[in-house]
């Protein structure tokens, strides 16, 4: 297996925008010098509200293997209620990272041997002026803060580009608010 590839698995619900979030990060990573970027949604069975996941692989060089991620370096969870339905840490590498949208505090979560980052993305998105439930722009702020992989300014630019005509400033503001309000521990 190639060790140069960073594997990021996104967990959300059908219709929640996990694919869009992963695509924004893919774009920002690409312009930051990650020439290998592959994003693969769950194939064929998406239904609104049902748990879905998306695989995002990034590397400095071209990626040839398109198969889904089984041993992620990090998992991004757009909805904390998924924890009751899906084993989001399945295959997560040792000392891996869980980024979680949750109204509960960091102390409420314990994933042995893993790092955790928590932010109430749903709350900050509303504070930024988005309708309740739009979390796919905000969660990117938590990703940026917890991983440092891609600069928040580059990510915000990618958000504004993706949401052209769909409240780009408010989506960008959500990401920045979450970036400033993400608790990291573990």
């Amino acid at each position: 297996m190639r060790k140069d590839i960073i594997e990021i698995r996104w967990h959300g619900r059908g219709g929640q925008g996990a694919i869009t979030a992963a695509k924004i990060v893919a774009n920002a990573a690409f312009v930051s010098g990650y020439k290998g970027v592959v994003m693969a949604p769950t194939f064929g069975t998406e239904r609104r509200g049902a748990p879905v996941f998306t695989s995002l692989k990034i590397s400095k060089v071209k990626i040839y293997d398109l198969s889904p991620i089984t041993t992620p370096d990090m998992v991004i969870v757009l909805d904390h209620t998924l924890l009751e339905e899906v084993n989001v840490v399945a295959g997560l590498k040792e000392n891996g990272l869980v980024v979680l949208n949750s109204p509960r505090p960091l102390a409420a979560y314990s994933f042995p041997g893993m790092r955790v980052a928590v932010s109430d993305v749903t709350l900050y998105a509303v504070e930024a002026g988005l309708p309740p439930g739009i979390v796919n722009s905000g969660i990117i702020g938590a990703f940026a803060k917890a991983t440092g992989l891609v600069d928040i300014d580059v990510l915000v630019q990618a958000i504004e580009k993706e949401f052209v005509g769909k409240k780009p400033e408010k989506n960008a503001k959500a990401a920045r608010l979450v970036f400033d309000n993400t608790a990291i521990g573990g």
Partner: protein, 399 residues
Amino acid sequence: MHIIESGNVAAATGVKLSRAQVIAAYPITPQTPLTEKLSEFVESGELAAEYIPVESEHSAMAVCIAASSAGARAFTATSANGLLYMVEQLHWAVGARLPVVMCVANRGIGAPWTVWNDQQDTISQRDVGWIQLYCNDHQQIIDSVIKAFKLAQTVSIPVMVCYDGYLLSHTYMPFEQPEQGKVDAFLPAFAPKHFLDPENPGNFNTVTLPDVRLDVDGNMAPGYIEIRHNLQEDLRAALLTYENIDREFEKEFGRGGNPFIEEYKCADAEFVAVCIGSLSYQLRDVVDMMREDQVKIGVMGVQIYRPFPDEAIIRALAGKRCVIVFEKALSYGNQGALYADIKSALYSSERKPRIHNYILGLGGREIKTQHLVDALAKSCASPDTFGDSPRWIGLKLQE
């Protein structure tokens, strides 16, 4: 400019840049986002084309045939059972020598029902007479669509541009969008010598007698068998035409150079894995892993399956110790179709390699890298004792 989008959007963008004039399609998973994107392009005015929604794939191809007969650049796309539903019209399009271009997002065929990837749909259409190009990533999809339009109108033969459903159609990766001005210079407008013209009436594709006969102008006209012979000759000659088109494309856009086969670490290899489509890229990682263990192995992707690039394949494979052919399709009751074709091409070679055949990934069964490593390790360890029947990878049979 690079963008990160799905393989279906790469295909749609290629169609837009090629300035298709008539698009007729019926949605089917996993092709659907391609036709949705094209209808968006037409609706927004970015693409000046007639988008004709139809009630079936058979009608989609019928519309393309009519449009192409009238001198318009025509495009459609489909997958799996949709492709099979238009088969009668596929034969008609090629018999009438119409340069229709069609994308196929490869998908397994029902029954039993499946929406996931394999290549049985297009491989089973290899004898129709269409040219078949296959892509390994999104850059190849957008570039191949543009090259396909040029090839089709140069040789008057329709072209399928095939790419793996889901694996490529729904996966996002970066690719470069060629500039419109450069595409326009590369791909001139479609200007057929004969087309349906109210000012100049004529009969197309009427009943053709078994023997030659004088036409209305008193010239000797070919019979059915001559017309079919000419199609075969023209298809074989299309290999050289495609090589030239690819070279011209490379000069203009800086990409290409492998119109027939794409080799990776094959120069000094004793063992060569061969397959069609995105799997050949996944195998590159496997080759790298096995090279670390000093196995002299490479991988070769077949980029054009019809016309069959036999000379390139002989050049690449004659003298190797063993060739291992992986296929997501089967000529049922015999062997993998690609395996049989490669064996046939090498029959006349004095330096025949051993050839092994593996069937895998049917109906979207995940192809695990470890399965590929295990299969290749087995073939490399005992190249002489495999037999002529295909072996299956990843089967979970009940004992």
